[in-house]
Amino acid sequence: MIIICGGIKGGGGKTTTAINLAIMRGLAGFEVLLVDADSIDNGNASDFSAIRDETLESKHYTAIKLNGKAIAKELPVLATKFADIIIDVGGHDSLSQRAALTVADLLLVPVFPSSFDTWVIESINTLISEVNVINPKLKAYCFLSRADASGNQNDDASEILIGEYPEIEFIDCPVKNRKVFRNASGQGLGVVEYKPKDPKAIDELKKLYQTVFKQSFQD
């Protein structure tokens, strides 16, 4: 399956989602390719993979950097060699993201629960309706990411996202804003690997994993 962790706004948690799903999928025994398609060179999946290479003997996934139109040509070839390809794109409407959309199976859009972040979903909805002509198999999910641990902001955002955008399915898998995400990524680890374990964060990621891959996570 080819999955894009995408969107057209930064700060939603695309890279965090991409690296954690890649690690979990790899730990579950699947051959995973993590593609860094972010044209900005700092603070992206490649940086994380470099830290992870220094930390661990095996990353549990293969990492590459690929940008631009070449993505549309290369991904279908790579998909024959890997069980899953997870692509981390930059937080804007980029050539790389559009190229990936023409061949992907799933666009996964993490949405920070704020007005600005929910408003841009309308543009993503339009983008998907356009690309569906070229790639009818593409599905799109959005979910709350970096969600508030308390308060009703999550509910307000969910209400906007449910049903308003026909091309994007809202999945009820909120991933809350927890310190463990920052701590784990700083050490080149996935949240499921980090110690001390954060059971709540792990449960949230497991729910997301199950919704995306239609299987429960077992490492």
Binding site: I8, K69, A72, H92, D93, S94, L95, Q97, R98, A99, L101, T102, S123, T126, S129, E130, V131, V133, I134
Partner: protein, 84 residues
């Protein structure tokens, strides 16, 4: 074997067109305006006419370049003559 022109397929054309719209954030049905490549031609112009043109552009607050002014003048003349 005959030599054939390399032609993209219509599917590739559609895909490329979609990808090339990157950054546009368009509403459905809108089309990104492509940049028209302009031609460069040498223009032979009498020095006095060029001086008058520069003085006129400098004194006006329109902020047009020489090229834009000359293009506008050509357009106006063509339109005028077409109406005649």
């Amino acid at each position: 074997m005959s030599t054939v022109r390399k032609k993209p397929t219509s599917v590739k054309k559609t895909t490329d067109a979609f990808i090339d719209q990157a950054g546009s954030n368009l509403l459905e049905g809108e089309v990104k305006k492509g940049k028209t490549k302009k031609s460069q031609v040498p223009l032979v112009i009498p020095p006095q006419l060029l001086k008058e043109l520069d003085e006129h552009l400098e004194s006006s607050s329109i902020g047009l370049s020489r090229s834009n002014y000359i293009c506008q003048a050509i357009r106006e003349k063509l339109d005028r003559e077409e109406k005649m």
